[in-house]
């Protein structure tokens, strides 16, 4: 599968390495080249410096032929906008978007984005742990 990931933080870097190891074709984008230090030594995919809400950068990352786009920057709004660009401008079949704010996550899920809120997931997980 061809996957474009925006945001090379801990999650982005780890996911890129995992998908790459599993044999997928991965391109990761980050604003800052320094973030790519997080990528594992064995990562064979591409890494591109640039802003993921810039269509030119996305094109360079091969968005036009990507099957999955995943937005994992620290900014909810940036993630939402990038996913909408992937979905509505480049017709990427799947755009997955991390949104920390649960309310925004709910809203954009109803607008057809594939969204994940780590806040909700982690709080639920902790509650289960606490309650046994």
């Amino acid at each position: 599968m061809k996957v474009v990931i925006m945001g090379c933080g801990r999650v982005g870097a780890r996911l890129a390495a995992q998908l790459d190891a599993a044999g997928h074709s991965v391109v990761i984008i980050d604003l800052n080249a320094y973030s790519f230090r997080r990528l594992s030594q064995t990562y064979k995919g591409k890494a591109i410096v640039g802003n993921g809400i810039d269509t030119e950068v996305l094109k360079k990352a091969g968005i036009e032929s990507a099957e999955v786009f995943i937005a994992l920057t620290q900014g909810d709004n940036r993630n939402i906008m990038a996913s909408q660009i992937a979905k509505h401008i480049f017709n990427v079949p799947r755009a997955i978007c991390r949104i920390y704010d649960p309310l925004r996550q709910e809203l954009f899920a109803t607008l057809g984005l594939e969204t994940i809120s780590p806040t909700t997931i982690f709080a639920d997980l902790l509650q289960k742990r606490v309650e046994g």
Binding site: D54, D76, N77, I80, I89, D101, F108
Partner: protein, 220 residues
């Protein structure tokens, strides 16, 4: 009308001031408490502290009865999301976003968010911060006067750099009305003003003289 403005920067400030004068009910949403305080002091209590992209903030702002939401923060993505939340969660009939990157126009419009092209706030925006990517920006048309207001940036190495206004022959009917120079107050040009590279010029001109004006000011 009840109009909500997101972002208390220069554009938001002047927009609020202008719309208040027209008698509209305005609420400005701004994240920075110090900025809120200044605005409330200068324009009356019209500013609420909060993140205009957040559902809770917009709820407290009474967004569901707003006729319009205008988002003018410095970030395109924040403006888009504020407008989308207003439009879909609160059913605001009209949402307008400021964009910095013209490439975003297509996406915004596809998603039902209006993008202003020519308006007074664009002038303010250009005056205060933007360095346009293209040589001449049309700011406003004064149709009944047969004039337009344009903005351009003097490139380095252009023939007019280092010359006084007096020495430059402008086309008939064209006036240079304002010069904006980095880290300085805007200058109202006089005969002895010397043009410099990177000067931003606001000029009034008849449309038919625009090409000539451009040749004089930014031609090599």
């Amino acid at each position: 009308m009840y109009i909500i403005i997101v972002g208390g920067g220069r554009v938001g400030y002047y927009l609020t001031e202008a719309l208040l004068k027209e008698g509209h009910e305005i609420l400005l949403i701004e994240e920075n408490p110090a900025v809120c305080e200044v605005i409330n002091e200068e324009l009356g209590s019209v500013c609420m502290r909060g993140d205009g992209c957040e559902v809770v903030t917009l709820e407290a702002a009474g967004t569901s009865r707003a006729d319009m939401l205008v988002s003018v923060t410095a970030d395109d993505e924040d403006n888009l999301i504020a407008c989308q939340v207003a439009k879909h969660k609160f059913k605001v009939p009209r949402t307008i976003a400021r964009i910095r990157n013209p490439k975003n126009k297509e996406l915004f419009e596809k998603l039902g968010v209006n993008v202003p092209v020519i308006s007074t706030n664009l002038i303010l925006e250009h005056i205060t911060e933007e360095v346009p990517t293209h040589p001449v920006t049309h700011l406003m048309e004064l149709r009944d006067k047969g004039l337009e207001i344009i903005e351009m940036k003097i490139p380095a190495g252009c023939a007019c750099v280092g010359r006084t206004i007096k020495d430059i022959v402008l086309p008939h009917g064209s006036i240079l009305s304002l010069i904006i120079r980095k880290s300085q107050n805007p200058i109202i040009p006089t005969d002895s003003t010397v043009l410099m590279a990177d000067d931003q010029i606001i000029a009034v001109t008849p449309p038919q003289a625009e090409a000539e004006l451009r040749a004089v000011l930014i031609g090599e």
